[in-house]
């Protein structure tokens, strides 16, 4: 029997649930020569702010057991370049779901950027990043407090007609409370989780490995923690969840979906294997056969 990999996110049909996570797949175009992007369920573009940013000083990558720390710090060309150049260029080679990931340092910045993303024809979903651990006075600060998470959500919902997903930080005491606050404020969906604030020290140099001292830890090791958070949030909220955090295989995708994810983002794994997403998608039908699954939709929140 032909396996049905498709899922639906807020009325948007994805041919499969696998989406490269923001920051681990550039603006899509960087990999257009190396793979057929159209096999992907969607692409979450690199986090974008109002103004162009260089980001943090290097080194901004550190190896860890089972993962890595990054402190890129939202390097991006700014929202105008995203909507006027990056997205139209991507649309020439890619027909699937495009998720624009928007970050900001103030409510006004979130409002302006999201309005521009909403007006951009090539963008399907707006993913609002309130969880970047690598920038000061912004990013994660909005995502670690229920009131400010709700305020960002309300602000962007006022200017967006497209589905708005809020990307949550795992660096909180109670992620369910933040998730509920976003849902109550009108979020159409949630992406979780972003990276875990971490650190490494070069013991020979007696200095942090990362120039910015700390960064976001991600990779295979965080999978059980991310899965637990997806499970808790998906069972506490009615809006769809994109599960993210340590996903590295087709088995992880199925596990995330059983925990409650409607779509699944693959992040750090892309950095060690740029072909991770197409390989996972290729392997899904075989795993579905093994598990007796005809349609992936039927396993969402199966547990």
């Amino acid at each position: 029997m032909v396996k049905d990999l498709s899922v639906e996110l807020c009325g948007i049909r994805l041919k499969n649930p696998v989406i490269p996570a923001s920051g681990t797949f550039g603006f899509g175009l960087e990999l257009a020569d190396d793979m057929d992007l159209d096999v992907l369920g969607g692409i979450s573009l690199k986090g974008t702010t109002l103004e162009a940013r260089y980001g943090n000083p290097t080194p901004r990558i550190a190896e860890c057991d089972g993962g890595m720390i990054n402190s890129v710090g939202l390097q991006n060309p700014g929202i105008d370049v995203l909507v006027n150049e990056k997205v139209p260029a991507l649309r020439k080679v890619y027909g699937g779901c495009v998720v624009a990931n928007i970050s900001g340092f103030s409510l006004d910045e979130y409002r302006t950027c999201c309005a521009k993303a909403d007006a951009c024809e090539g963008i399907d979903i707006i993913e609002v990043n309130i969880s970047c651990p690598n920038v000061h006075n912004g990013g994660m600060a909005f995502g670690t407090d229920q009131a400010s998470a709700a305020e960002v959500t309300r602000t962007v919902k006022e200017v967006c007609r497209k589905p708005v997903f809020i990307k949550l930080s795992p660096n909180v005491t109670d992620i369910v409370a933040i998730a509920r606050a976003c849902e109550d404020a009108g979020a159409d969906g949630l992406t979780l989780v972003n990276t875990f604030l971490g650190m490494r020290i070069d013991i020979a140099r007696r200095k942090p490995v990362i120039a910015n001292k700390m960064g976001g830890y991600s990779g295979r090791a965080v999978f059980p923690v991310a899965l637990r958070m997806v499970y808790q949030v998906a069972h506490a909220c009615r809006i769809p969840v994109m599960g993210c955090g340590g996903v590295a295989s087709e088995r992880d995708v199925v596990e995330m979906m059983m925990a409650g994810a409607t779509a699944v983002q693959v992040g750090a794994e892309n950095l060690r294997n740029p072909f991770a997403c197409p390989q996972i998608i290729d392997a899904l039908p075989g795993l579905m056969e093994e598990l007796g699954i005809d349609s992936l939709k039927e396993i969402i929140s199966a547990v």
Partner: protein, 245 residues
Amino acid sequence: MKEVTFTVLENDPVAPRTFRMKLAGDTSAICCSGEFVQVAVEGKFLRRPISVHDCDWETLTLVYKVVGEGTAALSAKRPGDKVNALTGLGNSFDIDACQGRALLLGGGVGTAPLYLLAKELVAQSKEITVILGFNTAEEVMLADRFEELGAKVYIATMDGSAGTKGFVTDVLRIKNVSYDYFYACGPKPMLKAVCAAVRGSGEVSLEERMGCGAGFCYGCSIQTKNGPRRVCKDGPVFKKEELLW
């Protein structure tokens, strides 16, 4: 970019903590000198970027220094073992920028990628002078290989145990070397000194901690006169004039 599983042919020390690894496998994605490959190491999350030292239709040769656990694991590979690498990464040296006389400056293991460059320049009948810098005489490597290609080779060592005592730039001050374009690879302080001291145009190959190695994670970006540039994709070779130090 192409993912290839190579078979180790040789993996032998060429200097203290420095190894030359010859690999058999598909090298079709590797075009020119200056490129690098991203080598997977068992038990490590990220791949390790290593410059292409030499390459032909069937073999790829890497010269690398053991600087941590990843490269230490690589040095334990024996003939017949497998090594997975992403190939065809990075830009390349601009061999056409040199009109006729090239100056190659290498520091430590940064000497490695200059060898394939020298071969390409020789194939274009260009005249080559090579200045290599090391800490001590026992670290000196590859000098004979450049000589085999017909290059004039000078050595500098920090302790004076071989060649001129001091930096590669000290050799340049003492010797009368004529060139119209330079190429350099080595530690950042050396490259900075080279760009400040060497007159005329040239280019340098930079090193940076990388994530993906293929231009999509933006982990290795540096600030240049032309804005942010990814060392892995827009580099690793940059024109002297483009760099901010």
